[in-house]
């Protein structure tokens, strides 16, 4: 029971941390000043959400671990984030498509997690939901602006949507842990978000004059620790300093 809860909390924390780290790579490289600031603000929200979750994991774990242990001392196979979160930034359309699909999921997920029987998770969901609404609006507006923009921006946005689409399957399917946590009234079934997710995505893509991909093949593995080749490089950069200098403080 404790083990299941720990794993469930860590998975969500990992998704927030990995996506937050990816977005932080844009710092100083945003296409315009306001966007640079927006991406880093959102990155900070993801990081903050991951911290709340890791702190809770440490409390559940009870082995005198701290939030930093989970972020910096675990290897790729221990991370349970959705694959979509670890995808490289690519061009701006890729970054926006990645956030857009994830934000729609987060919005629906936290809306339901607010009712969790686990009071801490419910509180984290309540807090996160307020922030995610701003994230969704940001990514959705950019999907529309780029999709319904110039010929070139339209083509690039469509290409990004098509490419990242294959990583959305995981957001909408359940594994044994999702089912068990839902049975206990703690977790949310991703499959229960499917219709709402699809409707929201469709509404935005229509507005953006973009086509909804028809592909039915989806990449999976993130939740069970089988990742793309990209995660290892991300962790190497993120974990290098605390692993090399475990006594370092700031």
């Amino acid at each position: 029971m404790t083990n299941d809860l720990l794993k469930y909390v860590l998975r969500r924390a990992d998704s927030e941390l990995v996506l937050g780290h990816r977005m932080s790579e844009w710092c100083g490289h945003g296409p315009e000043l306001e966007e640079d600031i927006a991406l880093i603000n959102i990155s900070l929200d993801h990081l903050g959400q991951s911290r709340s979750l890791y702190q809770y994991a440490a409390a559940v774990d009870g082995e005198a671990k701290t939030e930093d242990h989970y972020a910096f001392q675990r290897n790729e196979r221990d991370f349970g984030n959705f694959l979509i979160c670890e995808l490289p930034n690519g061009h701006y359309g890729n970054t926006i498509a990645r956030s857009f699909f994830y934000d729609v999921h987060s919005l629906l997920f936290y809306e339901r997690l607010v009712h969790s029987a686990d009071k801490t998770l419910a509180a984290i969901a309540e807090k996160s939901l307020k922030e995610v609404k701003y994230h969704f609006r940001h990514s959705a507006e950019w999907v529309i602006r780029l999709g319904d923009g110039t010929e070139e921006s339209h083509a690039k946005m469509q290409e990004a949507i098509d490419e990242i689409w294959t990583y959305t399957g995981e957001l909408l399917t359940d594994d044994e842990l999702d089912i068990e946590m839902n049975k206990q009234g703690i977790g949310v079934l991703n499959s229960s978000l499917k219709d709402a997710w699809y409707n929201k995505v469709e509404a935005v893509l229509n507005e953006a004059t973009l086509k909804i991909p028809e592909g039915a093949y989806f990449q999976t593995g993130g939740k069970s620790g089988i990742h793309t080749e990209h995660l290892g490089y991300l962790l190497a950069e993120m974990q290098y300093l605390p692993r090399q200098h475990p006594e370092a403080t700031w």
Binding site: E34, E35, I37, A38, N41, I42, L44, D45, H46, L47, G48, Q49, R51, S52, L107, K119, A122, A123, I124, E126, K127, S128, L129, K130, E131, K133, Y134, F136, R137, H138, A140, E141, A203, V204, E207
Partner: protein, 165 residues
């Protein structure tokens, strides 16, 4: 906020010395970040809530609460962080809003706007410099997580808006 005993009220007053490091005209009672003060035996338990999950000011605020109370003869202080009920800009005091505007940041409007709708009607935000309502949103994300960027179309000044949450 619960009814406070005399000692708790005194501590509450003392904590007005703790400012938001990002917006130093506001103290933690103006912001609504300070939720509860309890004195149990000789220990003071202070409950605070973050404005945003990733707010980098929280640690500094915690340290300053402890330092402030230590200085005033309370050696045992514990700061407790709660997430629920989630902080909202509606908790900002009226006094805080006045201070914010005088500082050049437009205070938050009532937080009822539905941000999950794609294009909800944008609130008209008043320019803190010239009071004109003829203003325009530049970006939902500003210099800190809690602020948005606006510009005034009359006096042409850009300004920060403490956005609704």
């Amino acid at each position: 906020m619960t009814q406070l005993g005399q000692k708790e009220s005194e501590i509450f007053e003392l904590l007005k010395a703790v400012k938001d490091p990002e917006v130093p005209v506001l103290d933690i009672t103006d912001l609504g970040v300070l939720r509860k003060v309890e004195v149990i035996d000789q220990e003071v338990l202070v409950t605070i809530t973050p404005t945003y999950s990733g707010c980098p000011a929280m640690e500094m605020i915690e340290q300053e609460i402890v330092a402030c109370l230590n200085q005033h003869g309370y050696p045992k202080v514990k700061v407790n962080l709660v997430l629920s009920p989630a902080w909202t800009t509606d908790w900002m005091s009226e006094e805080g809003k006045v201070k914010l505007k005088a500082y050049g940041i437009a205070p938050p409007e009532k937080a009822t706007e539905d941000k999950s709708a794609l294009f909800p009607e944008q609130k008209k935000v008043g320019c803190p410099q010239c009071n004109s309502k003829n203003t325009e949103l530049v970006s939902q994300f500003g210099s800190t997580a809690c602020k948005a960027l606006y510009k005034c179309l009359d006096c042409q000044e850009p300004f920060d808006y403490f956005k609704c949450l």
